[in-house]
């Protein structure tokens, strides 16, 4: 074991290594912008190798945890004043080790992929610096031993995400999207901070297990009512709700897809959005004794899963579709947490991290290929109506995409099957209603994923079809025009044609397969997408034995042969069969509608017009928020904002203070502001005496 100890002592290097990379490249960018920007490859290699080193270290830690090394925690008193103490440090336990491996592998592969994807982007080096900074913050979050430190890194990953969504600030909507993400996350973080302070006040600790223990004790001996404890927990839960894009704070995630695709894969599919699930897992000792909170978490998760899936059916933008699918899958994880299936939720987190990262990278590869044909216009390059038949041109991408699709649909033996099945099984034991919704969602998932697959990779290639292109542009303009109102000018017709003419000369007619630096990560991610599920089979659940709630004891695993003998096959077949069954139904529907064109989707859409519109318009959530919050806030702000200045100005003008003025110096005096201020001072004195005298 002598070899192992130093690894633990230097475990802090895992987040620090990427940070060093980000710091060095960042400093270079700021001080010697020109030089650093030209050193593209060296910077990239430097950062990627640092991340690789962190990955190796993570794997070492992980293996030592698997072999039964006890939990290693190192803390030091970071700041203390009186009885206000903050401790910082790091803790390596099973959960942390697992998350380290997930984050570092995905980050590493995404970084390799980025080299190909961003090859022509002027912000190449800056992008790597951000990526590295993000990885560092995320790794720091994962190994945090207490809630406060989590909060610090929580904000950091939020900031990175904010920076990265707005990376292509040139694009329409990128700036708006990052603002939206920011504000939505503020709401959640505010709740989190409030809940954190409240829990600290009640329990006097930021440590997870201590918190849970004391809170339970407090509720038991009656010094804190269960209602108050529930409020605290719900406040905490607001944080994960925003970060993991759960209803009603989910609105930012689809818009966040304005960022470059590697970001979508790393941050908005695999790691950061999973931070919410991770936090719930960490806070499990607090949540598990509060049944109301658990139920709330389960319902929020379930509803999000269903809503995400139902919206994903009608999306035409490939990344938006995947985004809603991510939201839906995160809902599954939340559902698992809510019904107490701790291991299942995290298992799904792991499998999802791999296959969803892969799906996103595939979509990036597709977009990369499409840009050859339709130009660098996200509106065209990301729209599935222009794709089709890409399997011929991009064999590796399509194969890996198919693997990911099968995984997410829950077809055995792909990874998603095992995790999703476990979640559904655990849900059934708690609430059949939740199970039914989850089960239905699984069907919808299969349908929209195959819809996506077929319209992207099968059939005819439609990328050169000018008609669709023009139609798409017109649609977008109409959407914009509608918000502009009827009085707006309409010069778009002109530009449309002009651009179409212009676009013809230098684009290729067919897309091409992406370079090896992009396909290699795809293939690398396909392996876990297929195989990783096998560690969590219901017969011999290695995963469950490794990851379980702190309060729970798990009996020793049986060898395979015995496990097979003792396993209750009937129940498993019933549950698994039903979920595979609905998945297959979804797939066949998709085949009928999009591959063989036996059923016309448009006809169905027309028949259930209201439902179709509901899905297409994302349940009108954005519109509702716009009407209720944005407009409301704006109105309120406008009134309050002007209070200080306007009232003074207003009264001054009202009373006609502005006399004729000539002398520059006297001008400002004679408008009466100064007198008015003095009057306010005296009035305030009077008021304060009266008020404080009376009370």
């Amino acid at each position: 074991m002598e070899l192992i100890e130093p690894i633990y002592q230097y475990a802090w290097l895992v987040p620090v290594l990427p940070l060093v990379g980000a710091a060095i490249v960042g400093t270079g960018l700021i001080s010697y912008s020109q030089t650093t920007s030209t050193l593209r490859r060296p910077s990239a290699v430097f950062i990627v190798s640092l991340t690789g080193a962190a990955m190796v270290l993570s794997f070492l830690l992980f293996f030592s945890q698997v072999q039964g090394h006890e939990v290693y925690t190192r803390t030091f008193e970071w700041a203390s004043a009186g009885d206000f103490k903050l401790t910082m440090g790091y803790t390596i336990d099973h959960l942390a080790a697992l998350m380290l491996v997930i984050v570092t592998t995905v980050a590493f592969l995404v970084m390799v992929y980025t080299d190909g994807y961003m090859a022509h982007d002027p912000g190449y080096v800056r992008f790597y610096a951000y990526l590295s900074l993000f990885s560092s913050s995320m790794l720091g979050l994962v190994i945090s031993p207490n809630l406060l430190q989590i909060y610090v890194f929580w904000e950091l990953v939020g900031m990175c995400s904010y920076l990265l969504i707005g990376f292509w600030y040139g694009r329409d909507g990128a700036a708006d999207a990052c603002q939206k993400a920011f504000i939505t996350n503020r709401v959640g973080d505010f709740g989190l901070l409030l809940g954190m302070l409240a829990l600290f006040w009640a329990t006097g600790s930021f440590e997870f297990d201590v918190m849970g223990e004391r809170l339970t004790a407090l509720v038991e001996n009656g010094s804190l009512t269960a209602g108050v404890a529930t409020i605290f927990a719900v406040l905490i839960f607001l944080g994960p709700m925003a970060k993991s894009a759960q209803f009603p704070l989910h609105v930012w995630l689809p818009d966040a897809m304005e960022g470059p695709t590697p970001i979508s894969a790393l941050i908005h599919a695999a790691t950061m959005v999973a931070a919410g699930i991770f936090l719930v897992a960490r806070m499990f000792p607090v949540f598990e004794d509060l049944p109301t909170v658990m139920t709330a978490i389960a319902w929020v998760g379930c509803f999000t899963a269903f809503m995400g899936a139902s919206i994903a059916i009608t999306q035409n933008d490939i990344k938006k579709g995947l985004a809603y699918s991510t939201m839906s899958q995160l809902g599954y994880m939340m559902l698992a947490m809510g019904v107490g299936a701790y291991g299942a939720g995290l298992f799904h987190l792991m499998t999802h991290a791999y296959f969803k990262a892969m799906l996103f990278l595939c979509s990036g590869s597709v977009i990369h290929g499409m840009e050859e044909v339709v130009g660098h216009d996200p509106l065209l390059a990301q729209d599935m109506r222009l794709m089709g038949g890409l399997r011929k041109y991009m064999p590796i991408t399509s194969a890996t995409f198919l693997v990911g699709t099968l995984a997410i649909c829950g077809i055995p033996p792909f990874a998603g099957f095992w995790s999703k099945d476990e979640i559904l099984g655990s849900t059934f034991a708690v609430s059949p209603v939740l199970w039914a919704i989850g089960w239905l969602t699984a069907g919808i998932t299969a349908f929209y994923m195959f819809r996506m697959y077929f319209s992207t990779f099968e059939g005819e290639f439609r990328g050169t079809n000018k008609e669709i292109q023009t139609q798409l542009k017109r649609e977008q303009l109409m959407a914009m025009g509608a918000s502009l109102g009827p009085g707006a000018m309409n010069p778009q017709e002109l530009t449309l044609d002009a651009e179409a003419e212009h676009g013809e000369d230098h684009h290729a007619a067919t897309p091409h397969e992406s370079p090896i630096s992009m396909t290699l990560p795809l293939v690398a991610l396909a392996v876990p997408s297929v195989l990783i599920g096998l560690v969590g089979t219901p017969f011999v659940n290695y995963f469950e034995a490794f990851i379980h709630p702190p309060s729970e004891e798990v009996e020793a695993l049986l060898p395979w042969s015995e496990a097979f003998a003792e396993f209750e096959w009937s129940e498993f077949i019933l549950m698994a069969g039903s979920s595979v069954g609905i998945g297959l139904i979804g797939i066949s529907l998709a085949i009928l509608m999009y591959a063989q064109k036996k059923i016309d989707p448009a006809a169905i859409a027309n028949q259930i017009k209201p439902l179709y519109q509901l899905s297409k318009n994302k349940w009108y959530i954005d519109e509702i928020y716009d009407a209720v919050f944005v407009k409301g806030c704006r109105g309120l702000a406008k009134q309050t904002l002007t209070m200080d200045v306007r009232i003074v100005d207003g009264i001054v003008n009202l009373a006609g203070f502005v006399t004729l003025v000539t002398g520059e110096g006297l001008k400002y005096l004679e408008n009466g502001r100064a007198q008015f201020y003095a009057l306010i001072v005296f009035g305030a004195v009077l008021g304060l005496v009266l008020v404080s005298g009376i009370t």
């Binding site: 700021i30 203390s80 610090v152 306010i680």
Partner: protein
């Protein structure tokens, strides 16, 4: 009373730091008279050296055995040392900002430095003043120098306007303050020393008579003017916008710190009889400041006005610590002041640098700055984010400590208001950051597209750069390595007999034991079972 006897009674060594500042002031003034315009080369550095020497002297006086000096006029306890230190530090930081600024505006530098040192001196004496006369003279030294600094750019009508407004409102509030002090003198039967006054109040033992309340509110009006608390804040935006920016930087930190020092000493020492009332008044001021400051800041288009409202709001946060009145409350307030010093001065340095290069301070003109000057963008972003309280920057820990102290003491309402408004505040800080970073090249403002080549070799820019980097490093590291600052803040409170007495007194009658203390034994017993 012979001379040596008197000299030993005076214990004049306590005001050694102030003595050093006076000596520096004289050196600069006389040196400038002799050397003429050539003196600009060394006066700022002499000023910084003198002020740094004063800091060293302050450090040596930490935990002095005999803090009382000048027959009770001045109290050099640890509390005053921390406040004096902050004021001197803010003055040191202001000097490098002003060199280039003053040069470009074509006014003379030495006088500027002299007046600023006088203001510093006033603030320092105010932090330790222990009788009514010293308080008033120190306050006026600070105020009058501030008026002069505000109007220093006399060719700029906005500077004139600002000075005139500041002077008029300041004179009004000083008059109110003085009236309050005269009431204190009369009510206590002719006492001058703070503790004697409060003793005579306690001896009279009347249950919060109206006289004391009137005196209290009048005194608070003077203090609230200095710390720019709503509704005594009206001057702030106008003055901040019109004055030379280095002056604003000093006003927002140095002058405000002096106000808080005065508030703690005067209220805690003199008004224990009406402590309920003054806590009530400050709660009202704190809530008003946080809400109005943060909300109105949203609407600002000028960076300086934005920072003005932000400083009003920050004063509101600071007042939470004062209202809470526990040991943690006071130390959280001092800790936040220390951090506020770095982040606010860093922010102002950036604003000055930007206005030196572009000649504007409109927020919209900041758009796209990232492409032209990444360093400035980074520094300003860090300072603003820290002001907004984004972890892991220093501001977050300051806010956390204050809110924690408030929550611990049961001031839930205040803490909630603080949390909500700090969320609002993040929005307007971020708006500036977004404006600088996330803007496409064609959306660049005029000022940015004509942005001059970044040069640091112009006279006066090098010190500016150094101080900027120092402030930013302090802002980013003070959060991560905050323990020394925590210890400093805590010690300054726990080593000050005045505050200890007040804390004991406050806790004795209330006897509200925080839930942690009551449940901790229960929890351990549960855990043992």
């Amino acid at each position: 009373m012979d001379f040596t006897n008197l000299a030993s009674q005076l214990n004049a060594g306590i005001i050694l730091p102030e003595g050093i500042v006076v000596a520096t002031l004289l050196v600069v003034l006389v040196g400038d008279l002799i050397a003429g315009r050539a003196s600009t080369r060394w006066t700022p550095y002499a000023t910084m050296a003198g002020l740094s020497l004063a800091i060293v002297a302050l450090i040596y006086q930490w935990d002095t055995a005999t803090p009382l000096s000048f027959l009770g006029s001045f109290m050099g306890d640890d509390l005053s040392i921390v406040f004096r230190g902050i004021i001197v530090l803010s003055a040191i930081a202001t000097v490098p900002m002003s060199i280039r600024y003053i040069e470009q505006s074509g006014t003379s530098l030495a006088e500027f430095l002299v007046i600023m040192m006088t203001a510093t001196l006033g603030g320092m004496f105010l932090s330790g003043a222990n009788d009514l006369v010293t308080i008033f003279v120190a306050l006026e030294t600070l105020s009058i120098s501030s008026y002069l600094l505000t109007g220093y750019m006399k060719r700029d009508p906005r500077s004139n306007e600002a000075a005139l407004k500041y002077l008029l409102i300041g004179a009004a509030s000083s008059a109110i303050f003085l009236y309050g002090m005269s009431l204190l003198y009369g009510l206590s039967g002719g006492k001058m020393k703070l503790l004697e006054i409060s003793q005579s109040f306690v001896a009279a033992d009347s249950d919060a008579p109206i006289g004391i309340i009137v005196a209290l509110v009048f005194v608070i009006a003077g203090i609230a003017f200095k710390i720019a608390a709503v509704p005594f804040h009206q001057w702030t935006p106008d003055v901040y916008e019109g004055s030379p920016t280095p002056v604003v930087a000093f006003l927002s930190v140095g002058s405000k710190t002096a106000g808080f020092a005065l508030a703690i000493r005067l209220l805690v020492a003199v008004f224990p009889v009406v402590s309920e009332q003054w806590h009530f008044v400050f709660t009202a001021l704190a809530i008003l400041s946080m809400v109005l400051g943060n909300v109105v800041a949203l609407a600002q288009t000028s960076m300086k006005r934005l920072l003005a409202y932000s400083s009003i709001a920050q004063a509101g946060f600071l007042m939470i610590g004062l209202v809470v009145g526990t040991e943690a409350g006071y130390s959280s307030m001092i800790f936040y002041l220390l951090i506020y010093l770095f982040m606010n001065l860093g922010g102002f340095t950036c604003v000055i640098l930007f206005s030196l290069r572009t000649g504007t301070d409109q927020i919209s003109e900041y758009s796209g700055l990232y492409q032209k000057d990444p360093l400035l963008t980074l520094c300003l972003s860090i300072c603003l984010l820290s002001l907004g309280g984004i972890p892991p920057l220093a501001g977050f820990f300051g806010k956390l400590y204050i809110f924690w102290a408030g929550w611990q003491a049961g001031a839930y309402g205040l803490v909630l208001v603080g949390l909500v408004t700090s969320v609002i505040s993040i929005y307007y800080y971020i708006r500036v950051v977004k404006m600088m970073v996330v803007k496409e090249p064609q959306e660049m403002s005029d000022a940015i597209s004509n942005y001059p080549e970044v040069r640091w070799d112009l006279p006066g820019l090098r010190p500016l750069q150094v101080s900027l980097i120092l402030a930013v490093v302090a802002t980013s590291l003070a959060g991560i390595l905050s323990n020394p600052l925590f210890t400093l803040a805590n010690n300054s409170v726990s080593h000050t007999p005045l505050l200890q007495a007040a804390i004991d007194q406050q806790q004795a009658p209330k006897a509200v034991v925080p839930p942690v203390a009551t449940i901790a034994p229960a929890v351990t017993s549960v855990a043992q079972r």
